[in-house]
């Protein structure tokens, strides 16, 4: 339902005392809130004319209950005026820049004219006012009445002195009253604002709804902080009034006045510098008006910019490779609670009747029925059979969530728009939300206890919008760089590799089995090999079943070692991939084929040339095929994958010894001052750089030795080399040598004087003394190495934590600065004021998401397609 009226604009201003009185439904005079029977006292802070919060009561002003009465303001007449703390600085400026006698701004007529003129038509006219005030401030004599000015001094928090005498709020008020309306703009005030309103005579009392009292389980009533503060104000105000009436000594009145000022000030803000914050009896600092608005949990950021919603669910997530990547598995017990508004039409009448009959007890059922006149029937209590019969087009049924419904799925932090996407529901047993692994990189989700949120769009309009704009399939291409961001991950890659390398041969049963698991019709091509009467198919053949028949593509696979002379199609490592007419002729499928956020040549082509539908189908099949292949062919990794022969170990040790020797030589050269310094570096820096270099090199060398024994027959290596998971560096650290540990990009050097640990001599610059770990993870670290490793590791952890905070804030600022920019129909980019920021978006008008990695028009491809070859 649309709101009847839309707020068009909001104007900010000051309230005048008259306005406050006019707004008010009652003046509040008694500091007591409730009488002995627990009824609100009339003209007290809980007066029922101020609105109601407790159910069952009605408001005495509007007659509404707690649901429909928004509350009404009251007021307190202050016995003496007090300064509004938030405006003390403005008041100070006003006192300094206006005449103490005639109230005119201390500017000569011509200055006034000039500045007013400058102001004319300016959107940010107050910038000119700042200049005007600055000029007026220092003036000794009023240019208008010739009055000598006395210096006004401001003592925090709210005392003003003029010359020797003190200016009371009353004095200030009279001074401010004298300021002429025509000078206001020059003073930085809107002409609709009277400066004397910054000195309060009447205090607005917010409705009870703003400061509801809560009743604790014990039956004890606990009042809101604001109410407490208002009680204080009324008490002191009363005492002040009584004392004044009784003609009490000046000093006492002054004291009470000061106290009133304190209470009113802390009522507005409890964080004034120089003022002790008002406290609750328990000693807790009161949270008054200012604090309610401020900060992350304040009214603005906490309640207005972010709101709590209905029709949502949150649960732990777990993986399900059998789901399509645009689906989400919803536990039945969640689906039983969440509902979707379904309009009854002549087409679904019977279906809806059945749902209503099943009601809340059986699962696909319904929760509520809404009749065309807007009446809601709760199916927990209603006569469901009768309601079902009554159902006719025009009714709305709030039925349970079921398969195929569109929901929004989200994981925080929502860093980009792919953090909330529209999925289709699959209701399933269990207690967690289930999702396909292809979308994990988008949500940045893993399954170590992550939770995600789910929202159900209710209106048809919302559902359609979600489906068109937010569907997972429509997010395959990232708007960040115009390439696929969804794709295969981890086992999808290993599986495909295992399947498509040349040694994989499958008999009919296995081949059919794989295709069935992939979800395609097991229509097999001609067998590639017939051996002893048995037909065999290659993995490449099976993979090709999924490819479009007119696809042609050649590229180098991830496993390509970048040999100096590429043998291309003859590559015996199968790193040269050739796809001809949808047939994978040569090469293996790995990360460069379809891994998310990698090169993904094949996948990129699929999405961009065959469209989202065809590409999604491909991805769903290929991931299942790969996983099935990995299961069938067998894939596992264990600690002995990092085993290397003894000879290799010895070679590595030799290399490490050599490097340590080299380091010693460097140090000696340094001590003899024979080291040639690098340009612009000190000798010591040079030494450090050379040592780091040498030690980094030895780790690489050790790695190389190890790598000779880590071949593609090794599962861990398969993962690293195909780009499925991990890197060769990870493996060599496990197998050969961990290498130098560092903190802040330097070798470890802090701890004791001249040494990191007591086990070394002071000023020992050797490799071991400064954190070089020569062991491998598999062999295990020596105690000292372990310590150094922990130091390096700790830095990594701290780094991550700091980075998250910093980049989070950077993103918030970026979003806030840019969020109002949008493309207009003429292609320009404008902000909310209509200011042009770009004359054509991106200077070529292209949407990054619709480009090919940033290129709007692939001229070469088009020419090649239409005219043929040679476009490269």
């Amino acid at each position: 339902m649309r709101p009847q009226r839309v707020i068009e604009s909001i104007r900010f201003s000051l309230l005048s005392p008259d306005e406050i009185r006019k707004m008010s439904v009652t003046s509040v005079v008694t500091a007591d809130t409730y009488d002995e029977d627990g009824f609100p006292i009339e003209r007290g802070l809980m007066d029922r004319r101020l609105g109601v919060v407790e159910p069952g009561l009605t408001c005495r002003t509007c007659g509404g209950g707690p649901k429909d009465c928004p509350g009404h303001f009251g007021h307190i007449e202050l016995a003496r005026p007090v300064i509004h703390v938030n405006y003390v600085e403005t008041i100070f400026e006003l006192l300094q820049s206006t005449c103490r006698k005639c109230g005119r701004i201390l500017l000569k007529e011509e200055e006034r004219e000039r500045l007013l003129q400058e102001m004319e038509g300016k959107e940010e006219w107050w910038k000119v006012s700042e200049k005007a005030v600055q000029t007026a401030k220092g003036r000794q004599e009023c240019p208008h009445c010739g009055e000598e000015q006395e210096e006004v001094k401001f003592e925090k928090p709210f005392t003003f002195m003029e010359g020797k005498g003190r200016l009371t709020p009353s004095d200030i008020r009279t001074r401010l009253e004298r300021i002429r309306t025509e000078d206001l703009r020059l003073l930085g005030l809107d002409p609709s604002v009277r400066p004397e309103w910054m000195v309060l005579q009447v205090l607005l009392v917010p409705p009870v709804t703003v400061r509801p009292s809560i009743t604790l389980e014990t039956g004890v009533r606990s009042e809101d902080d604001l109410t407490h503060k208002l009680v204080d104000i009324i008490r002191i105000n009363q005492r002040l009034a009584e004392n004044m009436e009784a003609g009490a000594p000046h000093l006492i009145v002054e004291d009470l006045w000061e106290l009133l000022q304190y209470h009113v000030a802390t009522y507005f803000s409890n964080e004034i510098s120089g003022v002790p914050p008002a406290r609750h009896r328990s000693g807790r600092v009161l949270r008054t008006l200012g604090q309610r608005l401020k900060g992350k949990e304040g009214r603005f950021r906490g309640n207005l910019s972010g709101k709590r919603v209905d029709f949502s669910a949150r649960a732990v997530i777990s993986p399900d490779p059998c789901l399509k990547f645009d689906e989400v598995g919803v536990p039945e017990y969640v689906a039983r609670v969440l509902t979707v508004r379904s309009r009854v039409t002549s087409f679904n009448l019977e279906e809806m009747r059945e749902l209503v009959r099943r009601g809340t007890e059986q699962y696909p059922g319904a929760q509520w029925v809404i009749s065309p006149d807007g009446k809601r029937y709760d199916l927990r209590y209603a006569d469901r059979e009768e309601l079902a019969q009554k159902l006719e087009p025009g009714y709305v049924v709030e039925r349970n969530l079921r398969d195929g419904d569109i929901v929004l799925f989200n994981r925080q932090p929502s860093l980009h728009r792919m953090s909330i996407m529209a999925h289709r529901v699959r209701v399933m047993p269990g207690h967690t939300f289930r999702l396909n692994l292809c979308v994990c990189p988008l949500y940045n989700a893993d399954f170590d206890g992550d939770e995600m949120n789910l929202h159900v769009p209710q209106s048809e309009e919302a559902q359609v919008e979600a489906m068109i704009l937010m569907a997972v399939q429509n997010q395959i291409i990232s708007p960040r760089f115009g390439g696929p961001i969804i794709g295969g991950i981890q086992d999808h890659i290993t599986g495909a590799y295992l399947l498509t390398r040349k040694e994989t041969l499958l008999d009919r049963e296995k081949a059919c089995q794989l295709l069935m698991q992939a979800g395609v019709e097991p229509v097999l091509p001609e067998p590639a090999v017939v051996r002893e009467g048995v037909e065999y198919w290659t993995g490449k053949q099976l993979f090709s079943v999924l490819l479009p028949k007119d696809l042609n593509l050649t590229y180098r696979a991830k496993i390509c070692e970048g040999c100096s002379r590429c043998k291309e199609e003859e590559c015996e490592k199968e790193a040269y991939v050739v796809i001809e007419n949808g047939e994978l002729k040569r090469g293996v499928i790995d990360a460069h084929a379809y891994k998310a956020l990698d090169k993904c040549e094949l996948w990129d082509r699929m999405v961009k040339e065959y469209g989202v539908e065809r590409a999604s189908e491909f991805l769903n099949h290929v991931t299942r095929l790969s996983i099935a292949a990995a299961e069938m062919l067998g894939f596992t990794t264990s600690i002995d994958d990092e085993d290397i022969p003894r000879i290799a170990k010895e070679r590595i040790e030799e290399k490490i010894e050599d490097a340590k020797k080299k380091v010693r030589e460097l140090i000696e050269a340094y001590n003899r001052e024979e080291l040639e310094p690098l340009p612009g570096r000190s000798l010591r820096e040079t030494l450090e750089m050379r040592i780091m270099e040498a030690l980094a090199e030895v780790r690489d060398r050790a790695g190389q030795v190890a790598e000779k024994h880590l071949t593609l027959s090794n599962p861990a290596v398969i993962m690293a080399r195909t780009g499925a998971r991990g890197s060769m560096l990870n493996l060599t650290q496990m197998a050969a040598c961990v290498g130098q540990q560092s903190v802040r990009g330097e070798r470890l050097n802090r701890g004791y004087v001249g040494r990191v640990l007591i086990h070394f001599k002071s000023e020992d610059l050797g490799a071991e003394a400064r954190g070089f770990v020569s062991s491998s993870y598999k062999d295990g670290l020596k105690p000292l190495e372990f310590f150094f490793h922990a130091a390096g590791g700790r830095e990594g952890l701290v780094d991550t934590a700091v980075r998250t905070a910093q980049s989070g804030y950077m993103q918030r600022r970026l979003i806030n600065a840019l969020q109002d920019l949008h493309v207009e129909y003429d292609g320009t980019v404008r902000d909310d004021r209509g200011v042009i920021v770009q004359f054509l978006y991106g200077e070529d008008g292209a949407d990054p998401m619709r480009t090919d990695n940033g290129k709007a028009v692939r001229v070469d491809r088009l020419v090649e397609k239409i005219i043929g070859g040679g476009a490269k």
Partner: protein
């Protein structure tokens, strides 16, 4: 002014500085019409900007900038000259 100007570096021709040109009144109005904007809704350039000074742009003028675009080869942009 003359003495100072000659001493000052002319920014035009630097690789980072695109070609600026002050539009005639008619051309300026055409730009405002084409984009249906008021002058203040255009991007701004201060009259104290080194390039604005070099080409003699005065507050109220509209400057056309021929950018070498990272995406489109060439792109035109406009800036309204303001006091500053």
């Amino acid at each position: 002014m003359g003495g100072r100007m000659s001493e000052e570096l002319d920014p035009r021709g630097h690789v980072l500085v695109p070609e600026h040109r002050v539009l005639s009144k008619e051309e300026g109005e055409e730009v405002l019409r084409r984009y249906r904007v008021k002058p203040h809704q255009l991007p701004l350039i201060k009259s104290s900007d080194p390039v604005a000074r070099a080409i003699g742009a005065k507050p109220g003028d509209i400057v056309e900038i021929k950018r070498e675009s990272f995406t489109a080869g060439r792109a035109l942009a406009y800036r309204y000259v303001v006091e500053g």
